[in-house]
Symmetry: C2
Subunit: 142 residues, 2 copies
DNA sequence: AAATTATAGTTACGTCTGTAACTATATCAA
DNA sequence: TTGATATAGTTACAGACGTAACTATAATTT
């Protein structure tokens, strides 16, 4: 007896669909306001939230591939939103730090992010929203 | 008083990160077995699950942009995994149907999909897994 | 110390994607 | 009926991405 496959219960499919849908609304904001890609936004947000760190740290925290991180860092650097300073004792790595302009772009986007997130939370209901966040966090630690 | 932004509670960010992580494992399967892209797999899966339908239907069900659907359909057609037959009364649309080869690729991948999904379900726990699926479904209908 | 292996990060190349413009057909309005 | 608008789907172009190969440096092994 073979089991039946059901797309609605297939997590990679459902998760991706929902993720894209939820991301759209906020993507418009950072794209229209600053012409940023998703990778760039994710790198900026990680630097804003966790402070100065290496490219590898950013990759670990965002789940972005190191080439995406590298390209995003290069392009954000070109806007003067971050600076790199090479580590003296290990010259392979560099500490990446947001500039004041970078911090202020981050502040501007997080302000919009909080509003956006509230909308989603209201739509879904606070209880369900919080439960969802918890479940996703649990899933990330697999 | 300004609220503090927290990436861990920001749904677009968390959702995308988790989605990519969960998708990786299964992506390897359809990529290595058939050299398919994610869009192609999603189109194939939708045709397999819901049967013959138009490109617009596929787009609605997958959330894929119509250009992605168009390209995926063209490339799956080139493998002889689907056929299109133009509607007689509305010649803008075509009904897309899997061939036997398409059905058998779908069967092969869903078999692997069921196994993969079970692993994730076991990891997360059945109760949590089912709760997560329900919450995502609720979110999709926003 | 020299050779080997591992890690951080970048780059080249081909593929995939997003946007906008386009073709073709159908529907609606005057 | 004609003209205007809407819908289905494709395509061109530029930009983003994934893979693998690469450079540079550090750590480990012999």
């Amino acid at each position: 007896m073979t089991e039946k496959f059901d797309l609605h219960g297939f997590l990679p499919f459902v998760l991706h669909h929902t993720s894209e849908k939820v991301s759209f609304g906020f993507r418009d904001i950072y794209r229209d306001r600053y012409r940023m890609t998703r990778s760039e936004w994710r790198v900026l947000a990680t630097l804003g939230q966790y402070g100065p760190q290496t490219a590898t740290d950013i990759g670990t925290r965002t789940g972005l591939h190191k080439t995406k991180v590298s390209r995003a860092v290069t392009s954000i650097e070109a806007r003067r939103w971050l600076k790199r300073q090479q580590d003296e004792t290990d010259r392979r790595i560099a500490l990446i730090t947001l500039t004041k302009q970078g911090e202020s772009a981050f502040a501007s986007l997080t302000e919009a992010g909080i509003i956006y997130n509230k909308k989603v939370r209201a739509h879904l209901g606070e209880r369900d929203f919080d439960a969802l966040i918890d479940l996703l966090a649990k899933l990330e630690n697999m």
